[in-house]
């Protein structure tokens, strides 16, 4: 059961990744649920969203900031991952030997 779930998730991941990269070439904009749900209902109910106070959605700046955020988040996660699962895993063994 678990194996089939993992296989299914892997397929889903691959499929969504493939669509994500393919989609950018054919159709640059894929609406998010903020537009299709949050924005749509907010507008229908008479309270549309306004521009952010700090509007970084200017040209490619937002894309750059997302790439930067991804890199920073990935670095922090990787750094602590190493600390916990690589260095941290060796630590108890060293203590045991002592």
């Amino acid at each position: 059961m678990r194996r089939s779930l993992v296989a299914l998730s892997m397929l889903l991941s691959l499929f969504t990744a493939a669509v994500a990269t393919g989609q950018e070439e054919e159709k640059p904009k894929w609406p998010g649920v903020d537009e299709t749900v949050v924005g749509k209902y907010a507008e229908e109910l008479g309270r549309p969203a306004r521009d952010p106070y700090i509007n970084t959605d200017q040209g490619d700046l937002l894309l750059f900031l997302f790439a930067l955020a991804g890199a920073a988040g990935g670095f922090v996660m990787g750094y602590y991952w190493h600390k916990v699962f690589v260095a941290g895993k060796r630590e108890p063994e060293t203590k045991d030997r002592e």
Partner: protein, 246 residues
């Protein structure tokens, strides 16, 4: 297990597709001032208690700090990178708070969600400063506590670790979006029946969110199985696996 090990980096790789987020956070200006303040007031005690708990726990156990680093960064990355859902033709993102609540505790997970949402509102034009309280309440408070509750319920029902965490991931994700729908419908239903507006908004999220919540459940389940295999002492400390080893 090898498949699980391969699966985690694959999911992490997905997160590196740099595309601006279009997701569930309530955008700037949507909540009227009264409701915006109300949700700030509702979220503030959870954030304050979470900060207190983090301070106490890191003093008692320094190994708690790297866990905050991992799961804090995970919540930030999860909650701002959109994943396309082909069946719905739109993108959305997981919350990550179910996983953070299991490993950090639900109050600490609220703090992590608050900081992530603040950074996103400040630099990524994602969410908003006036809606920060509302977004913190839906993703941080509702997501973390429902995810943690689902995990504990799963353990009480004697589900194994994977399925308990799977349940936590799915629940946290769906409850977060329920929270967003609730906040919007409470503030904006006007003369329309509240329940009808709530149902409309929540159901509109579902085609995108059901597949994503399953993915989030699988990632949460995979993560806990990974930790069980590589650092079972962490789960013992968190009292997920029996007592603390002496």
């Amino acid at each position: 297990m090898t498949k699980l090990r391969n699966f985690l980096p694959l999911c992490a790789g997905l997160l590196l597709i740099p595309r601006p987020a279009h997701a569930m956070h309530i955008s700037e200006g949507i909540l009227p001032p009264g409701w915006a303040i109300f949700w700030f007031v509702m979220a503030a005690p959870f954030v304050a208690w979470g900060v207190r708990q983090i301070t106490q726990r890191k003093q008692a156990d320094p190994s708690y700090i790297p866990l905050i680093g991992i799961f804090g960064a995970a919540v930030f990355v999860f909650s701002c990178f959109p994943i396309p859902v082909p069946v719905a033709g739109s993108t959305a993102h997981p919350a990550g708070t179910g996983m953070a609540a299991i490993f950090l505790g639900p109050f600490a997970s609220v703090v992590v969600a608050f900081i992530s949402l603040l950074l996103q509102a400040l630099f990524l034009a994602h969410g908003g400063l006036t809606t920060l309280g509302g977004n913190t309440f839906s993703m941080g408070v509702m997501g973390s506590f429902s995810g943690y509750g689902a995990f504990r319920l799963g353990r009480l029902l004697r589900l194994n670790l994977f399925w308990s965490a799977f349940l936590a991931g799915v629940t946290a994700d769906l409850v977060t979006y329920f929270g967003t729908s609730l906040e919007m419908s409470l503030a904006l239903h006007g003369t329309q029946p509240f329940l009808s507006v709530l149902a409309q908004i929540f159901l509109a999220f579902m085609p995108t969110q059901i597949p994503l919540s399953i993915l989030e459940g699988a990632v949460t389940g995979g993560m806990i199985v990974y930790v069980q295999k590589h650092r079972p002492d962490i789960l013992r400390k968190l009292k997920v696996l029996g007592e603390v080893a002496k």
